[in-house]
């Protein structure tokens, strides 16, 4: 075909313009009964406030750690439920603002992809465009890198501050002014780990010897005061999992052996409340234990969901489990046992009036259940996510 050959010989500009011209030709003559001509170059946008049926799945992509992401799903929607994604790599941390249309990723990159200068930053993305809008440097090369815990990146002071956990292996917490996009303080939390906001501007950390370290911050972001509480758990006998689930300002920490340690974090001084057990005698005989990665979730109605496995042993605490047990946090009574369609690794519950239970299964797909009756509803798979270790319900 002579025409074709001539066309290919054209230079770049002409070829590009030829494409544009074809577009116009086509657009100029639509017949009324035909499918409509569609515009080129349209990019979707999301609402600035996200519905409470959405979750943010943090895909650490362990097999390609430099290519992780957070994928946003509407778990209530029958279809068109993959809403978009943002980059979050090299053991990133993630949190979303509830007061600003922003989401935050604390991450690490190198100037020459796998080598060169290390850069630790918080990348700020716009909720509506899912595009980066700011980058806050985190100097010192000390950002803590973990498989992913929610408590390595938290919001304080009515969401005006971000707190970033550092581990180099010196354990410190950097305080970032969100609006000013810069670090305003840093607290050492030596011998302790993680960030659990308490009161307005304070946070606590859990410590090796079974105490908590409370860090009180001044209005400037500087450390005003730090103190340790008496011991309230034993990390040798029955460690607290590092990731609690929250109902309001109440934190529920499961323990390796199946207890729940509630902490009231509403005030500037955290209160240690009475520990209770997830297990009855029959459960204990079968050696049921909590286990997995994100093993607990909760709903404001007072329901606590825990991922459980039988035949527990020393070392089974990350094995995931076949059942999610549902408890009433007021009475400590188990109100349901949801037998999962596929063994779970991590669980989350959406925050709306009709909550969904979302489970990262052991094929690293996401299963969606009715949180009330435990009925399986749908699955997100086909490589949409490769290793979604942590799930964040939109609050």
């Amino acid at each position: 075909m002579d025409f074709c050959i001539n066309l290919v010989k054209q230079d770049r500009a002409v070829r590009t313009l030829a494409g544009a011209a074809l577009l116009l030709l086509a657009a100029a003559v639509p017949a009324s009964a035909d499918l409509p001509v569609e515009p080129i170059g349209v990019t979707e946008k999301l609402p600035a406030r996200w519905p409470d049926t959405w979750i943010q799945a943090h895909d650490i992509n362990f097999y390609a750690l430099s290519d992780g992401k957070v994928v946003i799903f509407d778990v209530a929607a029958e279809n068109r439920n993959y809403k978009g994604s943002i980059s979050a790599a090299q053991f990133a941390s993630f949190i979303a603002s509830t007061t600003r249309p922003e989401i935050y990723v604390a991450e690490t990159y190198y100037s020459q992809r796998v080598r060169g200068t290390r850069h630790d930053v918080i990348t700020v993305h716009d909720k509506s465009t899912l595009a980066p809008v700011a980058e806050i440097p985190l100097p010192g090369g000390k950002r803590g890198q973990y498989v992913t815990f929610k408590n390595t990146l938290q919001l304080l002071n009515d969401e005006n501050w971000l707190a970033v956990y550092n581990f180099s292996p010196a354990a410190t917490v950097s305080i970032v002014d969100v609006a000013a996009r810069r670090i305003i303080g840093e607290a050492s939390v030596a011998g302790c780990a993680m960030i659990y906001p308490t009161g307005t501007r304070n946070f606590m950390s859990l410590c090796s010897e079974g105490v908590m370290l409370v860090t009180a911050l001044a209005e400037t972001g500087a450390v005003a005061k730090q103190w340790r509480t008496p011991a309230f758990f034993n990390a040798d006998d029955d460690p607290l999992f590092a990731m609690p689930t929250m109902i309001g300002r109440m934190a529920y920490f499961p323990t390796f052996h199946g207890n729940i340690q509630p902490l009231d974090l509403s005030g500037d001084e955290p209160k240690v409340l009475l520990r209770w057990s997830l297990l009855n005698d029959a459960d204990r005989k079968a050696n049921w234990r909590p286990g997995g990665w994100q093993i607990a979730a909760a709903h404001r109605s007072g329901r606590l969901y825990v991922l459980m496995h039988p035949d527990g042993y020393n070392g089974s605490h990350k094995n995931g489990g076949p059942e999610v047990w549902v408890f009433d946090v007021g009475s400590g009574k188990r109100v349901a046992r949801h037998v999962l369609k596929n063994r779970g690794v991590s669980i989350e519950v959406t925050s709306g009036a009709q909550p969904y239970l979302v489970v990262t299964n052991d094929s690293f797909q996401l299963d969606v259940y009715d949180a009330g009756d435990g009925k399986w509803l749908r699955m997100f798979g086909d490589h949409a996510v490769t290793m979604p270790m942590v799930l964040h319900a939109v609050q």
Binding site: L25, A33, D382
Partner: protein, 189 residues
């Protein structure tokens, strides 16, 4: 702006004169002009878990419609009629649709164009496979149909190319299938 487009259309018209009809002109463009997405092989799609075969719950992508009246089929499947020359991750599975890019990505202006028959009206449409660029691999719904693919020396018929060109980033994310117009009707007109 319009003046160079007009000149260009003039040139295009001269070319059209060489072809036997508008339809064969467009068909020629469809196979030759501006190559689509970035690649993968049929076995890739198979390795991705049988995607392209049955839609639905087993593969973890729920059935969709195009949302366009008279446009049948499921844009999350490789079999969807607009995908007759598709190659890449389907944007319908990635936060976009068959004709729009996911949030935070940018549609590439250079594309590969196919001519696909809509089973609902039995008409041939010009479909433009514009890549969405600026985020790494979407990963979902890998689809490949090589009917009109040629090696890179037919550059604008080649789907092994990363067509994230002319965008602010060359990172490839997913591929759309946008209707540019009708082919048969124009040829008859």
């Amino acid at each position: 702006m319009l003046s160079w487009l007009e000149r260009l259309m003039e040139k295009a018209s001269r070319r059209v004169a060489r072809a036997t009809s508008r339809r064969s002109f467009l068909a020629g463009l469809g196979t030759l002009l501006v190559g689509g997405a970035s690649l993968p092989l049929l076995p890739v799609a198979r390795a991705a878990g049988g995607h392209g075969a049955a839609a639905g719950a087993e593969r973890g992508v729920a059935p969709q419609t195009s949302g366009v009246e008279g446009d049948p089929g499921d844009p999350t499947t490789c079999e969807y009629w607009r995908h007759c020359a598709m190659d890449g991750f389907l944007c319908s599975c990635c936060g976009g649709t068959q004709r729009t890019c996911p949030p935070g990505t940018e549609m590439a202006p250079l594309t590969w164009i196919g001519t696909c028959r809509n089973p609902a009206d039995n008409k041939d449409y010009i479909v433009s496979y514009n890549d969405c660029c600026g985020k790494t691999s979407c990963g979902a719904c890998l689809c490949n149909r090589n009917e009109s693919d040629k090696p890179p020396y037919r550059a604008f018929s080649n789907n092994d190319t990363n067509w994230c060109l002319g965008t602010s980033s060359t990172l490839y994310h997913c591929t759309t299938a946008v209707i540019l117009g009708i082919a048969t009707m124009e040829a008859d007109a």
